[in-house]
Amino acid sequence: MTEGDRRLTEFTLLARHAGLDLAPEAMAALLAEIEPSLAALLRMTRRVRTRLAAAGEAGGEPAHLFAVRAGVEESGA
């Protein structure tokens, strides 16, 4: 299986999980068109977590503060 095939398989599974059940050719075309945007969005999700971690407790809800103190929450890196 090539890297491209693996990405398409993973993308198809995620899309179907979200209820987008397109024909294989349409799924491949959609991936080709939105892959750069998905990569940008992934960078954004990382940026949000990093930024939240840097904000520390300032952005936390009480339950969140408990999780941070107890070392439950991921570092955000």
Binding site: L14, A15, A18, G19, L20, D21, L22, A26, L30, E33, I34, P36, S37, L38, A40, L41, R43, M44, T45, R47, V48, R49, R51, L52, A55, A58, G59, G60, E61, H64
Partner: protein, 462 residues
Amino acid sequence: MLDALTVADAARRVARRELSPVELTRHCLARIEAVDDRLKSFLLLRPEAALAAAAAAEREIMHGRYRGPLHGIPIAHKDIFCTAGIRTTAHSRLLADFVPTEDATVVRRLDEAGAIMLGKLATHEFAIGGPSFDLPWPPPRNPWNTAHFTGGSSSGTGAAVAAGLVLGGSGSDTGGSIRLPAAYCGVSGLKPTYGRVSRHGVLPLAYSLDHAGPLAWTVEDCAILLQAMAGHDPRDPASAELPVPDYRAGLRDDLRGVRIGVARQFFAAGSHVSAEALAAIDAALSVMAGLGAELRELRLAPPEDYGACGWIILFSEAWSVHERGLRARFFDYGRIMRNRVSLGAFLSSADYLQAVRLRRVLIGEMRAAMADVDVLVTAVTPGPAPALDDLPSFASFERPMTMPFNVTGQPALALRCGFSADGLPLSFQIAGKPFDEATVLRVGHAYERATEWHRQRPKLGL
């Protein structure tokens, strides 16, 4: 001479019975007939109904029942605002035959203020998918140069106001959709505070980022339109129950006592903002200082933090709005719309909730940064409107200058501050504290009155 009338000018003449609403409406309809074949700003025109409404307005005014500065003034609505008995398409094949039974609150309020609705205006499909050439209607063209983009998604409103086809109109703004077309088309556009203007009857894009507001030729005209649009509406769960000040009464020609924060890291040299846009903003700041404003440099979080937060929320919420439609009728949506909104299908609930948590942090940081200023000034676009042929398939959404104020919900105004070497408008942005549209409008109005940019209109060969 009716070609360059503003709402305020027209209202003064209508109130004095020097200008007939019927004459003004006929004039706008004639301009639409003459140029909209090139601009494509209207999706639906209702000339007979508009003329009948104008005649009724005229009768009321002649009988001493003048309602105020929008009475008899031609406007139009972005086609995501529901209009009772009038097709509302969202510029989409999916709603090509949708006729609402009820007006959006904004539509009703402008109607009650006596405005004459000429028709429905183009938008990006469902306020996100555009500019698209695979929809039942083409995207509108920029009146300053029809090869160029209008900005979006309130694209038809920007084009129609710039071309003088209407004197004002409605828009919606989820990540910049009032301010971007205002900037690229060289008009004024105000995104009010979240909760200031009801979204009831406005087709949603992202529930917690959607705002409704006005576009018009001048800042004063935006104040007049906002006055009619604003106010509590129990049918919008996010509507704020706060009094609405008299926006026009707060307008001044000077800025004495106003403290302006300059968010320079959003547009500093070396950023993606063009040199001519940068120079225009610096010149605008000098004008405002000359009017008595005190300028202070502000340090804010990088715009990319706001962008990441805003786009994750936007795509997550947009997917929740459209998931059923996309699952069932994927190829009935335009390509740009389906490709953009599908992104939300690949975000997790944790992604969304972390972004919502970050929003609260960013709101707190912005509040602290603005504690000692009244407004902040920054760029609104990287430069003038790009050519339609040069647009990438996706917006460059990692470099947002409008999204920060959707994330924080603050009011933000776009207005012109010059022209590029090739004659396209350059604009900047003034953001205020929550529910302080009055100060934003005051600053914009004083700047506009001190400069000549608003006296130039696009040459449409008429």
